[in-house]
Symmetry: D4
Subunit: 206 residues, 8 copies
Amino acid sequence: RRTGDPEVVYGAGKTPAQVVAILRALHERHPDRAVLATRLGEDARQAVAEQLPEADLDPVARTAVLGPLPEPSGSVLVVGAGTSDAPVVREALVTARVHGARAGTVLDVGVAGLHRLLAVREELDAADCLVVVAGMEGALPSVVAGLVGVPLVAVPTSVGYGASFEGLAALLAMLNSCAPGVVVVNIDNGYGAAVHAARVARAAHR
Amino acid sequence: RRTGDPEVVYGAGKTPAQVVAILRALHERHPDRAVLATRLGEDARQAVAEQLPEADLDPVARTAVLGPLPEPSGSVLVVGAGTSDAPVVREALVTARVHGARAGTVLDVGVAGLHRLLAVREELDAADCLVVVAGMEGALPSVVAGLVGVPLVAVPTSVGYGASFEGLAALLAMLNSCAPGVVVVNIDNGYGAAVHAARVARAAHR
Amino acid sequence: RRTGDPEVVYGAGKTPAQVVAILRALHERHPDRAVLATRLGEDARQAVAEQLPEADLDPVARTAVLGPLPEPSGSVLVVGAGTSDAPVVREALVTARVHGARAGTVLDVGVAGLHRLLAVREELDAADCLVVVAGMEGALPSVVAGLVGVPLVAVPTSVGYGASFEGLAALLAMLNSCAPGVVVVNIDNGYGAAVHAARVARAAHR
Amino acid sequence: RRTGDPEVVYGAGKTPAQVVAILRALHERHPDRAVLATRLGEDARQAVAEQLPEADLDPVARTAVLGPLPEPSGSVLVVGAGTSDAPVVREALVTARVHGARAGTVLDVGVAGLHRLLAVREELDAADCLVVVAGMEGALPSVVAGLVGVPLVAVPTSVGYGASFEGLAALLAMLNSCAPGVVVVNIDNGYGAAVHAARVARAAHR
Amino acid sequence: RRTGDPEVVYGAGKTPAQVVAILRALHERHPDRAVLATRLGEDARQAVAEQLPEADLDPVARTAVLGPLPEPSGSVLVVGAGTSDAPVVREALVTARVHGARAGTVLDVGVAGLHRLLAVREELDAADCLVVVAGMEGALPSVVAGLVGVPLVAVPTSVGYGASFEGLAALLAMLNSCAPGVVVVNIDNGYGAAVHAARVARAAHR
Amino acid sequence: RRTGDPEVVYGAGKTPAQVVAILRALHERHPDRAVLATRLGEDARQAVAEQLPEADLDPVARTAVLGPLPEPSGSVLVVGAGTSDAPVVREALVTARVHGARAGTVLDVGVAGLHRLLAVREELDAADCLVVVAGMEGALPSVVAGLVGVPLVAVPTSVGYGASFEGLAALLAMLNSCAPGVVVVNIDNGYGAAVHAARVARAAHR
Amino acid sequence: RRTGDPEVVYGAGKTPAQVVAILRALHERHPDRAVLATRLGEDARQAVAEQLPEADLDPVARTAVLGPLPEPSGSVLVVGAGTSDAPVVREALVTARVHGARAGTVLDVGVAGLHRLLAVREELDAADCLVVVAGMEGALPSVVAGLVGVPLVAVPTSVGYGASFEGLAALLAMLNSCAPGVVVVNIDNGYGAAVHAARVARAAHR
Amino acid sequence: RRTGDPEVVYGAGKTPAQVVAILRALHERHPDRAVLATRLGEDARQAVAEQLPEADLDPVARTAVLGPLPEPSGSVLVVGAGTSDAPVVREALVTARVHGARAGTVLDVGVAGLHRLLAVREELDAADCLVVVAGMEGALPSVVAGLVGVPLVAVPTSVGYGASFEGLAALLAMLNSCAPGVVVVNIDNGYGAAVHAARVARAAHR
Ligand SMILES: Nc1ncnc2c1ncn2[C@@H]1O[C@H](COP(=O)(O)O)[C@@H](O)[C@H]1O
Ligand SMILES: Nc1ncnc2c1ncn2[C@@H]1O[C@H](COP(=O)(O)O)[C@@H](O)[C@H]1O
Ligand SMILES: Nc1ncnc2c1ncn2[C@@H]1O[C@H](COP(=O)(O)O)[C@@H](O)[C@H]1O
Ligand SMILES: Nc1ncnc2c1ncn2[C@@H]1O[C@H](COP(=O)(O)O)[C@@H](O)[C@H]1O
Ligand SMILES: [Mg+2]
Ligand SMILES: [Mg+2]
Ligand SMILES: [Mg+2]
Ligand SMILES: [Mg+2]
Ligand SMILES: [Mg+2]
Ligand SMILES: [Mg+2]
Ligand SMILES: [Mg+2]
Ligand SMILES: [Mg+2]
């Protein structure tokens, strides 16, 4: 890759056999680097488990990682508003690690229960880059960005119903954040947010 | 009015002369009650000032009130996220008073500066009904509704640009609030929110 | 809960086992209070029926209640436009009771058959708060709010097809009600409407 | 015209001189028939008044009629929800007459004041075709269509603000009417509704 | 029914047992009149076939009719653009007959093959009311309304893909028809169009 | 230009002085080729008329051409539905000529008056590429594409009101054309359609 | 066909039996010409394979061709951005051949890997017409149209998630291309693009 | 500011007098730091020029800066697709400098002229963070992100017409970028993009 990033397989719309074959081929080319597959359905994960037993599978993130993780440099903290946002939170977590950052998560710190959020403020402040994941009204990034000056990527999720319009409400909210410096990715795109966050975190420790 | 509410003139799309004439007629019919006019442009407010000098004009709210306010009962607190939300905040304030509630405002308590909001928590808790006004990402009602259990009406405003789509982003956010019990009115509709809030507040002190 | 409300489990996206476990845990913490679970699919309701036989299940509302209801105070009346709106009507009914209000329903009083609505006018007037549920063109709240001055929460439902756009038509109609004081919640959100209505009703009888 | 209708000039986007010239030319071709011009701005109406003094101008409808009206046959009743709907109501009125029907109007019978509507029920029943005009939530056609079985054309208007989206809310409401047989035209299209209504009315008296 | 129309059961969202029970009850109340059920799935149609063998089933229209059709008066012609529009065309056909009009269909006369349409022009002209059904770009009503001056109801269908947005493209096209007097109903609403058309047709032969 | 096309100045958002300066500079670089400027307001056209008197101005198309037109090869026919579509029709006409095609126009051949269209059928058939311009319901391209097999580019215009949504209705209609091979450009983009059409026409005569 | 094109069966919404019957009938009428069927599901393709063994099936394109291809004239090159766009790419490929052009494909030349695109520049330049297929942000047509002056049809695909809104993002991007002369078809409409492209290609070699 | 950022005045909707007063007050509080005002109309800029002559005004960016810029650390490069994007490009440039980064611009490197972009590739690679600004189809960020691995913020602009829907097309395109790690801000929000970019750039040089 011209951009220096690891190879990533986007699993949606691929057969289990295709996923296994691509993962294996990429791994053989560079056995010393991690290869990541995202958006793996249950079938694909089972095929990987059987045919690539050394792969590291995450059923919540729906990811598989093959090959050793890079030496981490810089830290990404992934913050999730609700329990239903877990798949996106973990996709970001795994992706950040594969892209060379140390990474952790803080969960269930929605805006309707501020004390939980205020309790982790120092943890937020200590990260090199934050990924803030929220569905429904998508208010969490504004609140976090009002607390700390750390670079912050907002991820809207499709969690919600009715006038959430599959994540559109959260997406629009995040794009209109009254807190300065909030940047946004596509609905449910934990992967893209973490690629950016890992680059930012690594650069801070070069 | 069958519903017991005062008469209200919606000024948008009416000529200054029409506004003055309707206000005068309604006032003459019931000189002991307040009549409210909303959405008055500068021309209409000037015509009212000249021809109905006893009217109480509010240039920010763009309202006029003619006749004595009712004896207040119960309290409405109108909370505004930003300075640009002031016209909607004050339309709600004036409307609540005309509809029989005691009413006050708390301004500039946006979600990107939580300490300001936390500082007024007791004031929020003491109201019989809250009207929470916010534009852009419309996150304030969720945060307030997570702090106190008081009935709360959210008002999205058209403040913002680009993907705020003239208040749509804030409206969707409020409809998807993760805090239970948040109810919503049309974009910029401080009037409607205050009618509901005043009814709730008065009922609490019957 | 800081807001004084009962605990509520949102069943959508949770496994039957998760629903049962959370209900049990919350119930054990406060056996003297009701715990509510909403949006339970058939599987979840069956699991609750088997493993928590003392729970009160409502197959139309898709709810389960565990523990004793609070002593009711104040009254909520839930008004439904059509038979297809029943799940939302009953979700509101159960929620209002769990949140401490007396609650009842009036069904099938759509705007295309006014006599049915006019026949229950006194019942409408006697409530402390109304929840008005309608799909398709969502006209019922305007008509009801023109008849009585009681605080009123409108709930659009996803009932309809084509240009109803899954409840969007009803939502927009309700937000634009020409009757003053109509407040609105998300599409199909009987729960949120009833939380607000129960608070209003209880406050009227403190 | 192959369809037997009178000639109509759509004034929007035409200069006053163009409007006058087209009206004159059409009138000279058939001096025994009425020619209609719609959507005339103030300038165009003034030019017509000066240069075609025999034309019949309606400043509310923004129309001009040149030549004798046809002998009327059948009756169209145009029903308007609010005072701001007047331009559309009158455009329909004038158009119906030019297209050969007897026509009248009933105004200010919004759904939030049902008694006004119920008071004119016999008038509604006596028409051959109804044109029902409403903005904001657009609920009036459903209520009228529930009262009488007369063919009914609904006209949404752009009256409203915020989530009315320039008449979209009313348009969607009317398309989703729960009353059977409601047909709809474009936002503010009093002209189109009246062309249909006049055809229906005339056919009923052939 | 206050409006004089027959009773109609909307089958969507009802169980086969419910459909059978309602049809039977309505039929017993007025055995001399037709009762119509629409939007019946295969299960519901089979239940009707078995338990109400005297019912008249139409698998394309997805309707059932129980009881004798009224004496027809006036004629409705249902015109369909493409073969995929057949369910909507036939729903309109059956509905028109149940509502007291003589009714027939003309199929596959899309705008991309004008000769087929021009060949039936006299048939179009002879009807008392036309129902014109089209999906995709929804152009057919404009073309037909340019050929004949008969009252015309346009029905957009959800036939199409991509930017047809489930019938929205056809709906918007029909609302913007450049041919005067085209009125429109909801997407796929053959029923509503035919109720209006039958009223118009009957009135023309009173 | 790498693509072999002439230089084109997009006038919208440029000052008259800027337009004149760019036109002059481009013309001086290649005095033997035509330079085109589009979307020129009245001010810009007047500045060009005064300072570049040899420029060829078209007030309807809002264009200016400086330098000799190329030797034409192949023919483009621009077909317009209504008189209000004239600016787009002429922008296409001028653009096609500057891009090396012979070009002409056929006007006012809307779908609601088919005879006018059928009368020019041979002219349509004789062109190497058609540009078909229509607003409102945008039906004309489907009808033309059903008559002849010539390559055809459809241009939706913003002519219309209400549910035309500034040309969206026509755009969607054209994208969903039931006639095969209709390709579409942006709303009001006569320029883009003609660039494509001229390339197609020239290629047919190489 | 009046337009000179081959007959095409649109398979979506047709039963396997219907597809086989129509293909057979069309083939029998003109055994010397190719008949094309598109959008065939697995069942339909299997039925064709069994009952029309001489048909040429393409499982990726989801097409069947019966009868001999026409003698090709002119060349169409179909360019695809990503592997998920393959079904649309191949639908275009097969369609172009059935409509009388020589056709080939270039795959996986997305804008995020420009070198792959630059490497095939001469191939792009040699075609008579390009069909450029891309999902997600739909940027490929702009880049290709900046490289070569060949007539180019852009096809947005529904590949993507979240804010791609089933291909809407790519469609809008292509309609707004800053490269002159890009024309666009409906989402996933490889067929329509290829009909236009084949006409253009054939005309260039007459 | 809790987040360590400079104070910023959002000029839209403020009177010139208000802008001057706020700038002066903020400057007096911290004369050693820069204060920034954005979205200043011509009137506001003139008032600032007269009353705060030491302010640094940028008429293209529509900004004013009062007080010394911070010592720069790290570099931001702002890349613009077209000349009409200049106001957003310069708003980003000024903001990045006020927020402590070295900053420069590269202009007119749209995707339809790749050579211009390829020529500055090393400059792109040398930045600590890129801000990529584009209107219309918004394709530039994908192309840049395919060339270099530098953290990149995309800014859609409202430049375009018709189906650009005031920047929506570009916004959606950027959210769906097929290049990994592209993050996005609101339409025309050069300010927000630069706040994020400056934080990233400064962190890389701590
Ligand atoms: N600011 C406002 N927003 C929405 N509705 C309003 C507002 N002010 C007044 N109204 C409503 O408009 C009605 C009066 O309308 P009108 O008769 O046109 O003056 C009042 O009874 C209120 O229901
Ligand atoms: N108010 C109106 N709304 C919609 N269409 C109209 C209206 N007035 C006239 N028209 C149509 O516009 C046609 C005349 O258009 P024009 O030739 O541009 O004047 C008439 O034949 C009518 O079909
Ligand atoms: N009317 C138009 N609509 C769309 N694009 C245009 C138009 N006129 C010119 N253009 C494009 O704008 C480019 C010039 O833009 P500029 O450098 O801003 O003048 C030309 O190369 C064309 O691609
Ligand atoms: N151009 C801009 N776009 C978006 N937000 C801005 C812009 N300029 C300033 N802001 C934000 O607006 C806040 C100041 O708003 P105000 O107090 O109304 O002047 C600043 O702290 C920034 O967060
Ligand atoms: Mg959330
Ligand atoms: Mg706000
Ligand atoms: Mg309903
Ligand atoms: Mg109304
Ligand atoms: Mg069709
Ligand atoms: Mg047109
Ligand atoms: Mg792509
Ligand atoms: Mg651009």
